[in-house]
């Protein structure tokens, strides 16, 4: 039943974005997220949205998948909007009893909404277009400098990729054990907390026993296949930057430059665009 469960949410397709080096995507997503937090004015968001829209068009993933992530944070988004709209003080636009809605409130709410959407969609695109494996590889390579400080970078990366391989196997196993214990009359749905915790013992003990056995089997198998740590290992698919990766870095650098410029200059642009008392001020 759980055989095809894939972690992350990789969407198989053949696109430029899929083929990009995972390091580019990791660095890119990180910079993109930082840019959204540091600069929060409408010009920056417009540029950010433009970049995201072009990536979305390039990546050949159905739009529905990219926005799926938003559903999980829907509540947070609603909360943010309500909170901002009602509790930001400023020029009152509308008043009813204790409820008052200000110009600043609406502005903040819209900006937060845009920011969250961009954040979630950008993260989704990264996981949708990169296999967990390539992601692990990318992280290992990116964090390699930490090795100088004796950080077990290779080991952590290996652990992550083994975990990813065994999650479907263990979840299938959990299902089997639940069924087997149910057949022995175990009830996993007790209302009382203590009983509920107790009822998990017949599930957790066998699961741990099995996980430990698998771990020791796997360690043996790895040893038998000559594993001796990360030293001197080569790779079937080494991460190698190609033309498109450099181009992406350049685009990224340009993006950062534009965002920083707009961030600094935004006040002046606003002043330039909006004469005193113009209704346009509502947006800036």
């Amino acid at each position: 039943m759980f055989k095809e469960v894939s972690l992350g949410q990789y969407y198989q397709a053949d696109s430029v974005i899929h083929r990009l080096d995972p390091r580019v995507k990791l660095v890119g997503t990180l910079l993109y997220m930082i840019s959204l937090f540091v600069f929060n004015n409408i010009f920056c968001y417009a540029v950010a949205a433009l970049l995201l829209a072009s990536v979305m068009m390039l990546c050949k993933v159905p739009v529905g998948y990219m926005f799926k992530g938003l559903r999980a944070v829907l509540f947070i988004m609603l909360f943010t909007v309500v909170f901002n709209v009602f509790f930001t003080t400023g020029d009152i636009l509308f008043e009813f009893g204790i409820i008052h809605i200000s110009k600043e409130g609406i502005k903040m709410a819209v900006l937060m909404l845009v920011r969250l959407t961009l954040l979630i969609v950008s993260a989704s695109i990264m996981t949708l277009t990169t296999t967990p494996n390539r992601l692990t590889d990318g992280l290992e390579k990116l964090f390699r400098p930490l090795k100088l400080f004796k950080a077990p970078v290779h080991e952590v990366a290996l652990m992550m990729s083994i975990a990813l391989r065994f999650i479907p196997i263990l979840s299938e196993e959990t299902d089997k054990i639940v069924k087997a214990q149910t057949a022995r009359g175990a009830k996993f749905d007790s209302k009382k907390l203590i009983e509920r915790v107790k009822s998990l013992i017949p599930l957790i003990v066998p699961l741990f026993v099995s996980a430990f056995r698998r771990a020791s089997d796997l360690a043996l198998a790895m040893e038998a296949r000559g594993y001796h740590g990360g030293e001197g290992r080569t790779k079937l698919y080494p991460l190698k930057y190609e033309g498109r990766d450099f181009v992406s870095y350049i685009i990224l650098a340009l993006y950062v430059a534009v965002i920083v410029f707009l961030g600094i200059m935004s006040a002046r642009i606003v002043a330039f665009l909006t004469p005193e008392n113009s209704y346009l001020t509502l947006f800036f």
């Binding site: 069924k179 087997a180 022995r184 009359g185």
Partner: protein, 281 residues
């Protein structure tokens, strides 16, 4: 406690993923005390059928009657079925969890709400039934050998005193002597204790030797339902399902091909030897 499967169907999958019909409109009746062999290629729906019969999953359509009662009816307490139908999963030793063998075997009867004395009595009887010595009762189940662990796991089911015992490949991974011991135990439960047994096996030789009736599954459907001698006459059909005949039956067919007029319905070594001797002398 006869079992009736009535148009049992089970469909896997959700809205997004492709649907697979694991069990497709299966109907049969099994009478008390019968020893049934359930065979089929991996993925033919045997395991799903076992889980349906023991009330662990609910059918998409159709139902199961045990002792005349529809076990999936709304007003039926599905929990009570576990005391009637015992299911031994593949590698059942993976479900052991208690500190001692005895405690583990007590788990089932305790869950059924028996008091301490009755629980311990049931556990003791079950452990004796599977032929474990008293000295292992207070050992950790994890310290036992593979064959012993499997017996403890089976005892854990028997202690609930089921009338119907369902086993999914109970001999997997055991050596020949271990396989024979488990099969003899199951046969004994059927013949001496009058339990109804449904045994899933990949070994045609074992099925030929032990069971009264064979159910053959393929692609979720029940294709053959007959006594072993009859079932193994369907050579082409079985081979089409990726199943073989018992080795001796195959040999008898070859012997007939070289012009010795033996009957080809022998399914055990004993029968085959008798038949060859009858023809040659």
């Amino acid at each position: 406690m006869p079992i009736i499967a009535d148009g049992l169907t089970y469909v896997y999958g959700s809205k997004t993923k492709a649907k697979t019909t694991a069990v497709d409109n299966v109907t049969f009746k099994i009478n008390d005390g019968q020893f049934i062999g359930l065979i089929g290629h991996t993925g033919s729906g045997k395991s799903t059928l076992l889980m349906l019969l023991s009330g662990l999953i609910k059918p998409t359509s159709g139902t199961v009657y045990i002792d005349g009662e529809d076990i999936f009816a709304k007003d039926f307490d599905l929990h009570s079925i576990h005391g009637k139908v015992g299911i031994v999963f593949q590698y059942p030793e993976n479900q052991l969890f208690e500190e001692t063998v005895f405690k583990d075997v007590c788990f089932g009867p305790k869950n059924m709400g028996l008091d301490k004395k009755e629980t311990e009595l049931c556990a003791y009887e079950a452990l004796k039934l599977v032929g474990l010595e008293d000295e292992v009762f207070y050992q950790s189940p994890f310290d036992l050998s593979g064959g012993q662990k499997r017996r403890v796991a089976i005892a854990g089911i028997l202690s609930m005193k089921p009338k119907i015992l369902v086993l999914d490949e109970p001999t997997a991974g055991l050596d020949p002597a271990g396989r024979k011991e488990i099969l003899d135990l199951v046969k004994n439960l059927c013949r001496e204790k009058g339990m109804t047994v449904i045994l899933v096996s990949h070994s045609m030789d074992d099925v030929a030797e032990y069971v009264d009736r064979i159910l053959v599954m393929n692609d979720g459907r029940l294709e053959i339902d007959a006594v072993p001698k009859e079932a193994f006459k369907h050579k082409e059909e079985l081979e089409g399902f990726g199943l073989a005949l018992p080795q001796v039956t195959q040999a008898m067919i070859k012997i007939k091909e070289i012009g010795i007029p033996v009957r080809t319905d022998a399914i055990t070594v004993e029968e085959a030897a008798n038949e060859i001797m009858r023809v040659l002398y």
